[in-house]
Point group: C2
């Protein structure tokens, strides 16, 4: 490709709204353009990278025995109603009606569609297992779209769905998909951590995210040093050690408390650590039931865990008036007096002689002990793991932050139980629901993540496997004829070349080469031609060298085989 | 691939609603399944064919210098408003609103989107020309979806858009794209006719369809024997020969006409050919203006031509009451008395002594002559070319019917004039609008067309280039071990094999092989093994032969190179 004819050239200016380095470089170097927030054009350079990523995914999915197919983008809404997801997915789901009154969801994930096509066949145990996958455009009506390819509203996704007779058969596919994911991300140059995660609105009993560590990632996770345990903060289990096991339980005492409503205000008044307090929050569920949630003062509520405890009901914080109507005062609510559903974190059992509000303004109750003075309806894990916590088996957990690039879900019979005729005929002649799993990779997000990881101050450093071209060829000075010859020779040898044939200053061309980030840059000039050579510079190396013109094709091929 | 593990096996039963042979075989053989009318799943066999078609298109587009990219599927509706197409495309356009109030069209064609991305760059004459294309899912909210892949509501389309400084530069790209289309369809095994066609809501001055002749096609066209002229009936020009040049013009005469309202009723009453009558139809435009359209009685109105004459206004037939209000009677309307806009076909000048209604019930006027007795506001081409007509230069036109698989459009400055900043900087430093063209191929429709053309009573006959697999391997009897060995050997040689490893009767396997239509079938049985051979049968040949086991891989490779 001649750079002079390439649609989508580099630009210098970047809007100050572009914050992420991946967004900035993909924009500047001419890989993507925003249509509207969260919806992107992939320009010719960008689609080459995206296609290569898709090819890697496709090869590994096929090698793992999965079968490619594709569903329509518009899903009959009645399928989503069959599994109650039209409701639970809520605002993220975009729906549309055609002129004949047909209602559709714009596909964001395709569990129902895949079950629907499978149930059109009378599948028997002999046909199972199989794993079917597609690449298709997905839609999520997100309120916020972060810049660039990391969180978008429309994106290319690989989504796979496996069908099994039973859990055991599924378990081996789950591992096989995990292995395929490891190979895929490795080939893309990405080092991933596999973490336990929450299944959101997908359903099922367990799932894992593949996360690339990055400070701009949205996934905070905890892991042991040997990574034998790694989990998203929303599901991570952690030890709640006893804080003061040797203290004696003291008698209850109510006293004036001239403090503000926050935990910090209590710490200041009593000069005691935060764990000494009970943190109490009043919520209302969407069916208007008040729920009191208590945990140790140094911990924070994990809303995802609370959501599961409330069995998927939506909830919101109570207003000041609602707290007063229940008989307490904001900042001084305690679990001792209020009559409502009470959920406590396991940490309530790790402190002797808590203090807490006395359900009156500016009054606290001291020496409160779980079991002796109050109990909760449920004592469960409802806290976010704090920095420096330990795993349940006592190992140190370190914190990580990363970008989710893929996920794998056990679905079990979550969908096949809800959908009519989602069954196979077993060897005993009986109809049984499919046991299922599903497996996703966001293609664009993976591309953005690669750039987040592989860049320097000058631009992108594409991994060899997914670089838009293999060689960036620059001619400097009056050497067009020799440059053309080399360009044509490389093309005839099947080498992918971006040939910067512009009449531009050398500095402009060299800067663009660094910005675009093709792994190998070749410069041909009168100086190199004197020696019958070209300058060879790898994007990841600081120094250039010269190689003989006669060797260059072979060296390129060797370089890309490495 | 082992057939036992393939998702999407053959079925015997076909719904009586499935009429087209391509629909029936693609369904029965397990290539596609309908989600809802006009929206299809491509099953694993189907996606392999679709992918191969896309690869052929991509290779030829790239070879012609076009650059692949991709736009979002959701187009900001304001872009379609910028060109007034949100209105004119009308009901076919699906629109949707996101939760932040953003309005979008589901892309059906992407002229505005491509202009929008191009205008984000400050393009100069040096950057031109370029041709950018994409493969993406397209949506058309059609009222009727024919069975199978021939007319659908959602489909994969290749759409390309070229940008030029001027018409001359565009003209060479138009020819280059035409050549690329010829190569594409030739590689897919399809013989196409290139016909002049109507541009519908795309705009521009001229365009061509690539049509595959087929009795189930929706495009009726006319062509000269040497195909130097070929045009869709909606745009075809034809000679209107004088019917009775030697007759003398006779005096007008009004007389009782005890006939019904149709042309046939007149023919019966007067025992004269249909051309002797004036056919008169009253329309109302969408701004409620009455329009009288007249043509020779043996011809039919071409509504597409009329639409252009009315400058894109929508129109409908007048009701009986409206005709009476205008001062006439249905079945007896004439161009002589009514006061309204009058459009006549050129054929009105080819008959002497027409008869027509007298604008009173059961009364006709005889011996009506154009020029002497009446004139029209416009005398233009508003008729469909009838069977047996001649071209304007007097050659016989034969009728053809076919399936439109691709089209190429001159757009000129149709879009760049309407859209702000759709300009390039010319060598004189001035901003000028792009001169554009666009070029589409429906991938699924092309696949359906291939099956319409290549089939017999047993099933499909895929052309080699796009067959889902290269070899259908069947084992008969107790030869699993040898069959496995051959299967593995072919895989290791890079041959695409569908291995029918089922424990099924030979007849079932042989029938499925014919139905699925892979070009080459190999059968391994104890009988062939005795001779250290396999049975070799090409789908297109009646007879099988035997080939030596040792030669089979080489023969397959040779066969596919042919």
């Amino acid at each position: 490709m001649r750079y002079s004819k390439l649609f989508g050239k580099t630009v210098k200016e970047v809007s100050s709204e572009i914050k992420l380095v991946s967004h900035r470089f993909l924009y500047q170097a001419g890989f993507i353009r925003e249509s509207v927030a969260g919806r992107y054009f992939f320009l010719p350079l960008g689609i080459r990278v995206r296609d290569k990523i898709m090819r890697v995914i496709e090869e590994e999915m096929n090698a793992a025995g999965a079968q490619k197919m594709v569903t329509p983008v518009l899903h009959p809404l009645e399928l989503w109603q069959e599994t109650n997801r039209a409701e639970s997915v809520g605002f993220e789901l975009m729906t549309i009606e055609d002129q004949r009154g047909g209602k559709f969801a714009l596909g964001g994930t395709a569990e129902e569609m895949m079950v629907d096509v499978v149930r059109k066949f009378n599948v028997s145990y002999r046909d199972l297992p199989f794993n079917i996958y597609q690449f298709s455009q997905k839609f999520r009506d997100e309120l916020r779209a972060r810049g660039g390819l990391l969180r978008v509203r429309e994106f290319m996704m690989k989504d796979a769905y496996s069908f099994h007779t039973d859990e055991k058969d599924f378990a081996s596919e789950y591992e096989s998909m995990g292995d395929a994911y490891s190979r895929i991300f490795e080939r893309l140059g990405l080092s991933t951590v596999r973490i336990e995660s929450d299944n959101g609105y997908i359903g099922g009993d367990y799932c894992h995210e593949y996360v690339v560590e990055s400070p701009v990632g949205e996934s905070r996770f905890l892991m042991t040093k040997d990574r034998s345990y790694a989990a998203h903060e929303e599901v991570a289990k952690f030890e709640r050690g006893d804080m003061n096991p040797d203290e004696k339980e003291l008698p209850l005492e109510v006293k004036d408390a001239p403090r503000g409503p926050t935990i910090a205000d209590g710490v200041k008044l009593y000069d005691q650590p935060a764990w000494r307090q009970i943190k109490t929050i009043v919520f209302f569920t969407n069916d208007e039931e008040p729920v009191l949630v208590c945990l140790r003062g140094d911990l924070d509520i994990c809303e995802v865990k609370l959501g599961h405890i409330l069995k998927g009901k939506k909830f919101r914080s109570a207003t000041r008036e609602e707290v007063e109507k229940l008989g307490s005062v904001v900042g001084f609510v305690s679990p001792l007096k209020l009559k409502c559903k009470k959920i406590g974190d396991l940490s309530l059992k790790t402190v002797k002689n808590f203090y807490t509000g006395a359900d009156e303004d500016k009054k606290d109750t001291l020496n409160v002990n779980y079991g002796r003075d109050f109990e909760m309806d449920e004592l469960v894990d409802v806290a976010l793991p704090p920095a420096g916590c330990k795993s349940e088996d006592g190992q140190d957990l370190s914190e990580g932050r990363g970008i989710e690039v893929g996920n794998i879900f056990q679905l079990g019979t979550h969908y096949s139980d809800k959908m009519a005729r989602a069954v196979f005929t077993d060897s005993d002649g009986k109809d049984k629901p499919f046991y299922m799993g599903c497996y996703g990779i966001g293609v664009g997000r993976t591309m953005g993540t690669v750039v987040e990881v592989f860049n320097d101050e000058k631009g992108i450093l594409w991994p060899k496997a997914i670089a838009p071209y293999q060689v960036y060829l620059i001619s400097i000075g009056d050497v067009a004829e020799e440059a053309e010859k080399l360009y044509e020779k490389m093309l005839s040898e099947g080498i992918e070349v971006l040939y910067d044939d512009r009449e531009e200053r050398p500095g402009v061309k060299l800067n663009d080469a660094d910005l675009i980030g093709i792994p190998l840059r070749l410069v041909i000039s009168s100086r190199t031609l004197e020696k019958d050579a070209v300058e060879w510079k790898e994007r990841s190396e600081a120094e250039a060298k010269e190689v003989k013109m006669a060797d260059v094709v072979k060296l390129i091929k060797d370089y890309y085989l490495k």
